[in-house]
């Protein structure tokens, strides 16, 4: 007899592609935001979550970071940072929101557009991800919460960020699987965690806590 489907933990390896597109002011940034691939939007809004930080970064997305640093557009940077990434289930929606925030800012601004220094342009990159199984498999809820302690940040990134935004899944993979097993409460508790508001290590700890308190 077949039991419930097992959860196969995936992980990912990443390369960065360069597009050759560069922006030196907000109109140029907008032009390329409309043109670049979804993999580029994903890269610039997500790669910092995988980087090791010695101190909490002020901005997690590159658009906010660059507009603050290179264009001294602090108000816009704050608005771009305030975009709730969890509110979107596709890169397309996220791209539209970023564009809307910048357009709104340009329309409302009375100042002429600032230019970045020639050595501080925004260079559009793209994320290339290779998803592969880790070899770790959980065949029950108990083993799932047991194994989750040992999975890498890349694996968490894959099941939380890639799954929702690039693999067109309605939610993170963990909640999806638990829900399929009828564990609705556990599924929604994990779903309520905001992975953008914490580090991946903290996210893992939170999931472990959900498991411990069940």
């Amino acid at each position: 007899m077949n039991g419930p489907p097992a959860f196969v933990f995936y992980t990912e390896r990443r390369l960065v592609l360069l597009t050759g597109f560069k922006a030196g002011n907000l109109p140029e940034l907008l032009r390329y935001l409309r043109r670049v691939s979804g993999a580029s939007i994903f890269y610039h809004t997500h790669h910092q979550y995988l980087s090791q930080h010695f101190e909490k970064p002020l901005f997690h997305n590159d658009f906010a970071k660059w507009t603050a640093r290179a264009l001294l557009e602090d108000v816009l940077a704050e608005k771009l940072t305030a975009i709730d990434l969890l509110a979107f289930s596709s890169i397309r929606q996220l791209r539209e929101r970023i564009i809307a925030v910048i357009e709104e800012h340009i329309t409302g601004s009375t100042r002429p557009a600032r230019e970045a220094r020639p050595d501080d342009l925004f260079h559009f990159c793209e994320s290339m991800s290779f998803l592969m199984p880790t070899g770790i498999v959980a065949d029950s809820v108990d083993t799932f919460f047991d194994k989750i302690r040992d999975i890498s940040n890349l694996s968490l990134f894959c099941h939380f960020f890639e799954a929702r935004l690039r693999l067109d899944r309605p939610t993170n993979d963990f909640s999806l699987w638990l829900r399929g097993l009828g564990e609705e409460q556990l599924a929604s508790r994990i779903e309520r965690l905001d992975p953008y508001a914490m580090t991946l290590d903290e996210l893992r700890d939170e999931i472990v806590r959900v498991g411990e308190s069940r």
Binding site: R13, R14, L15, V16, L17, L18, T19, G20, K22, S37, G38, A39, Q52, F54, E55, D119, L121, H123, C125, E126, S127, M128, S129, F130, L131, M132, P133, S152, E162, R166, L167
Partner: protein, 409 residues
């Protein structure tokens, strides 16, 4: 596991080596061939020397070939190099003819046997013309700073580059408008090389002694060619400002002035500016001084890389790896190695450099903490094992052209 792999594992940890093996297992069915223009000397040869045995140890078949050329060819390729750097006159059609003739000669000589052929820098780039005849996959690995290339020189090279399957650049700023995919692979340092490996305290103090440097007093050091763009005079100016308020010595060490008239002139200016200050040590290093450089950096309190223009500037990673905070010019790749206030400071003037040096000299705990951060930053991002992993992933990427999200079984 081989002893070489074990030696790396000791430095980078088992997880990194495991990861290399996982990726290697997926690319092992294809061989890799590297081609460059020199077997010894220079950063590319340095990295390939170490990369090849490592590839063998993780089970990836790899070979390395070196193209040949006469003096005239290398004069032309030096001119190409300078023009791509944005300094020096553009390439002429006559020079391009010399380049093409050497390419034709090399096409007769070099055995193109790899499934994926990595061609390093402009010198051997023309070999890609064989692609039409033999197929295979071709990658052009550009190690030089092409952020502001001379357009007409790039115009000669670009059609060749576009014959490749992919190009690799070291920084986003170097990306070009090209019809082929461009990958970002940062350069790396080898933690086991003479320039970077651990040294015993005796070797460090003997080196300092030999140069008359007092190990008991703070040492500020800049290791770089005597080149105006490295701003050695600015470093002396910074040192003099520090010296007014805190005891210290300055070491300016570098090589490569012999065949470079401008370098010789800069060295003379540096010596004149140092004048008879017994605490300034201007050291002209002969080639193959890696151990000496290693010891000088390890014997330093703070390292400067106060460049006015810089490609990547791996000397920064070399210093950070040794636990030294780095005060660097806010240019080029220095900006991704020196995390401002975390692994050192980014500065824009001798005054800025002096202020930050004073801050660090007065706060040894801060100096130590930044050094530790720097070591960790390099460990995560700028070691040879990371570059190797990127090359392997690129092999994998070439099997999935156009895809950005690749699901592997």
């Amino acid at each position: 596991m081989t002893s070489l792999l074990e030696a790396y594992q000791e430095v980078v940890g088992p997880q990194v080596v495991q990861e290399l093996l996982v990726v290697a297992a997926r690319v092992r069915h294809r061989s890799m061939q590297h081609i460059n223009s020199t077997a010894v000397g220079g950063g590319v040869a340095e990295i390939l020397t170490r990369l090849l045995p490592l590839l063998a140890d993780i089970g990836v078949r790899a070979t390395w070939d070196v193209i040949r050329g006469d003096q005239r060819f290398f004069e032309v390729t030096k001119a190409i190099h300078n023009a791509l750097h944005g300094k020096g006159p553009p390439l002429t059609p006559e020079m391009w003819e010399v380049y093409q003739a050497a390419t034709r000669a090399n096409l007769e000589q070099v055995q193109l046997k790899g499934d994926v052929i990595f061609v390093h820098d402009p010198q051997p780039a023309g070999l890609v013309e064989a692609r039409e005849r033999i197929g295979r996959q071709w990658v052009w690995r550009c190690h030089i700073d092409v952020s502001t290339p001379d357009e007409s020189t790039w115009g000669f090279l670009r059609p060749l580059v576009e014959l490749y399957d992919a190009a690799i650049f070291s920084m986003p700023e170097f990306a070009q408008s090209l019809s082929i995919p461009q990958y970002l692979v940062a350069p790396s340092i080898d933690p086991l090389s003479d320039k970077n490996r651990e040294l015993d305290a005796g070797t460090v103090s003997a080196t300092l002694d030999r140069h008359g440097i007092d190990a008991g007093r703070p040492v500020l050091t800049q290791i770089s060619r005597f080149d105006r763009l490295k701003d050695p005079l600015g470093v002396i100016a910074a040192y003099r400002l520090v010296k007014q308020r805190h005891d210290c010595q300055l070491v300016l060490a570098g090589g490569g002035a012999a065949d470079d008239p401008e370098g010789e002139q800069t060295l003379e200016e540096v010596r004149a500016r140092a004048a008879d200050d017994p605490d300034i040590h201007v050291i002209l290093l002969p080639p193959l001084s890696d151990l000496e450089i290693n010891a000088l950096v390890r014997g330093s309190t703070i390292v400067f890389q106060k460049s006015l223009k810089e490609g990547f500037g791996l000397t920064v990673s070399e210093a950070l790896w040794k636990g030294k905070p780095v005060i660097g010019g806010a240019v080029g790749g220095i900006r991704i190695q020196v995390l401002n206030g975390v692994t050192g400071y980014l500065v824009h003037s001798p005054e800025g450099a002096a202020n930050r040096a004073l801050e660090l000299l007065r706060n040894p705990a801060l100096c130590r903490r930044m050094g530790e951060n720097g070591h960790e930053h390099v460990k995560q991002n700028f070691l040879l094992t990371r570059q190797l992993k990127d090359y392997l992933l690129l092999m994998l990427a070439l099997e999935h052209p156009g895809e950005r999200l690749i699901r592997l079984p």
